[in-house]
Amino acid sequence: MNYPVWQLGFPGGLLIAAVAVLHVFISHFAIGGGAYLVLTERRAYSHNDLDLLGYVRHHSKFFALLTVVLGAVTGVGIWFTIGLVSPEATSSLIHTFVWGWAIEWVFFFVEIAAALIYAYHWDTLDRQTHLIVGWIYFVAAWASLVVINGIITYMLTPGRWLETGKFWDGFFNPTYWPSLWIRTAMAVALAGIFGLVTAMGEPSALRERVVRWAGWWLVLGIAPLLPLSRWYFHDFPSYSRAYFSGMYPQIRHALLAAAVFSGVALALALLFALLRPKMMNPVIVAVLLVAGIGVMGAGEYLREFSRYPYVINSYIYANDIRIGQVEAIAANGVARTSPWVEGSAADSRADRSNYGRQLFALECGSCHSVDGYRGMRKITRGWDTKFAGEILLHLPVVRETMPPFAGDAHDRAALGSYLASLAPATPSGANDKEIGQQVFAIHCAMCHSVGGRQRPLDLKGTDPEAIAGMLGTLGDINPDMPPFTGTDAEGRALAVYLNEPSH
């Protein structure tokens, strides 16, 4: 409300995800890869293995090119992106943690300098000093994770910070430690995957040694993920632990993806890196890379989804509206709150639709698009204006992951009318049952399923007359239910369908 909304045509959250997944993939490799470099170098010295030394020199150049450029710049990219998509939340994070970021910047600085010196001074520095520079790199890289992890986990579980407002209470929050160790384990695994990438360019005898060595990193990184994840999820906020009960397909799919990708990676590593290193080939390495991105992506998605409806838990909603603001916006209306909105709900009909569209951008646009990702045209098919306006009153009940609508009754009517205008449709069919099924899809399916997992409705065998009667008193059955706004005929058709559903 305070800031303009960047109207990209697709949800800004998607953009953050794209930049972030690329960044976390490379940045975790940048951490584990640091340890991989020095330990491989040390191993080459102690085994007097000049071939291995040649490999690690080569690997270090690849490492620097990937992490110092793409890794570092996409990190700045996340910062740019969140400032554009969630300025209110970004501002809040910066005010709370500016000194944390300043400290991370010190580590970042040392890290970049050490990476460049390590990669480009193999022939200048003596072995001992070169190893020390490598260790400096690794410590600085891991320390920057130690810092940023505090800020990322704070957003999900701000813990005591909500009462005290103190830096350290927010920083060492309930998910800080499990998240730190999960990320560290992932960093080790990714070091192994990228070690395999560069190993593919080596001649066969050396390649086999490197494959086995990198394979151990991969296995040691993946193996602790399961127990660490259990610890991590256990400390999730209680409201979002309920999301894991199976009601949200997004969570089910992400969990499944994380399990499959890490399982595949572990199996491939055991088989083709440790047991039969001769058989490792670029195709398997490519699968491992995909699996690595898959695990990281699924993990980040679970964390982000579990944070809904907030961007900073119990402080700022996902649409960048502060919790404390909602009441004032409801009292004053959006037009009087946000200077960025043109017109008002009191405008003529044509302008009101423009006003409603702006409200959509303002309140829904960070997660929803009209036709694309989480597209509303599909969801609002057949809605009438009154029903849409009513649904807006109950958003956090419709989906626990949604923030409440912020605005007065006029705003609600304007946004409702905009939503209803997206895909007007009248239920039709050969018989009452078919029509009733459509009425159900329009009026009930947002919250209920018939025989599904989502708040199942079981009215099978109930007298249609009684069901039709109930439709007039939904608010009495549960105050969170919007009134039924269909016609009498639609109500009767719905009753027929519920009495004898087919699904």
Partner: protein, 372 residues
């Protein structure tokens, strides 16, 4: 007219304004030095690469710039992060709003930085070659760097002009905007870009001073001095244009209305003149080192003065709407202390590594000379 200026974050500033401003200006000064060396250095590298066949010194300079530019790039970015952080704490409500309005070019900076960075790396690997596509790659990298600078000029002028925000937003809420209607945009941009070339000239003088071989040393110093002098004199004209295009009250402040601003402008004009004078005097001198060092120092001091002037300009432009000194402050002293300690430790680590590299490089050079 009601301006759509967002209210500042409800949280108090986590440090006093003087500390934030000191860190902002200090880190921005360092960032600008590296950024200038990068932008100007890439331009120099391009010219040298184009002349590499006809001029042996040009070919040599291209070869010397090759390994330097990627590191300069890395530190330009690293040193750019800190001032952007401190700027956001103090002026976030202006910066976020203007960034969103030019969201597409603003975010494109990230892509452009990545491409330019890889371009410079490509050049560093091919800098010694006499043939190849380095000219094209360098030209593209330079174009990208110049475009990045232009987007920055757009955003940092737009954040000072909230009266233009609503029009931009309502014409393109998608963020496909630039701040074209800003009268000072073009002169400001040219002023900064010419300054970058001038600083790169100083960089060449410094490279010359560190050079053992007489002929090359002489050439570097000459070319560097020429580049600095030429661009600086030109920049007097552009600077005047910039001044004329500032809004009335801000311009007045620099020409007598505000003693500090006026004094800065005066010093900012005298210092580069002193730098030019010393570089020219050095030509006639038998042992010009002292003149050159004084000349370069005056040039660097000019950059420092310009950095402060830029901050004064920002505060003058925002004065009608906002003064960060009025924000509530609740310093997090404990963490600030931790930052300072780690910062010192970081600098010490950096010093340790660079010193080790310097000693080892020196030993290698000595060993190579002994072999000859």
């Amino acid at each position: 007219m009601n301006l759509p200026i967002p209210y500042p974050d409800p949280m108090p500033l986590p440090a006093p304004v003087w500390l934030l401003r000191t860190l902002l200006l200090l880190t921005f000064f360092l960032h600008v030095l590296f950024m200038n060396c990068l932008l100007g250095g890439t331009a120099v590298a391009l010219v040298c690469t184009m002349r590499r066949k006809s001029s042996a010194f040009s070919a040599r300079l291209a070869g010397d710039l090759g390994p330097l530019l990627p590191s300069v790039f890395a530190f330009t970015i690293t040193l750019g992060v800190a001032p952007l952080l401190f700027l956001q704490v103090m002026y976030g409500q202006f910066l976020y709003a203007s960034s969103i309005l030019i969201g597409v070019p603003w975010l494109a900076i990230i892509g452009m930085v990545i491409l330019a960075y890889y371009g410079v790396y490509f050049f560093s690997m091919k800098a010694h070659e006499k043939k190849g596509k380095t000219t094209v790659v360098l030209a593209l990298a330079l174009l990208l760097l110049a475009s990045i600078a232009f987007v920055y000029s757009n955003n940092f002028t737009l954040m000072l002009a909230p009266e233009r925000w609503l029009d931009l937003y309502h014409s393109h809420a998608s963020g496909w905007n630039l701040n074209w209607s800003e009268p000072s945009l073009v002169p400001r941009y040219l002023h900064f870009v010419l300054g970058a070339l001038a600083v790169a000239g100083l960089g060449l003088v410094v490279m010359g001073l560190r050079q053992q071989e007489d002929g090359y040393r002489q050439w570097l110093i000459e070319q560097g001095s020429l580049l600095f002098t030429g661009t600086t004199l030109l920049n007097f004209g552009v600077g005047f244009w910039f001044l004329v295009k500032l809004t009335g009250p801000v311009r007045l402040a620099f020409v007598g209305g505000n003693a500090f601003a006026t004094a800065l402008l005066g010093v900012g004009m005298l210092l580069p003149l002193a730098a030019v004078a010393h570089l020219i005097m050095a030509k006639a001198h038998k042992s010009p080192k002292r003149q050159l060092v004084v000349g370069v120092s005056c040039g660097l001091l000019t950059v420092a003065v310009m950095v402060v002037m830029r901050d004064v300009l920002r505060n003058l432009a925002l004065a009608p709407y906002f003064n960060p000194n009025q924000l509530p402050v609740a310093p997090q002293w404990g963490i600030i202390l931790l930052f300072v300690l780690l910062f010192i430790a970081g600098l010490a680590t950096l010093y340790y590594m660079l010193r080790k590299v310097a000693i080892a490089t020196k030993a290698q050079v000595a060993a190579a000379q002994e072999l000859q």
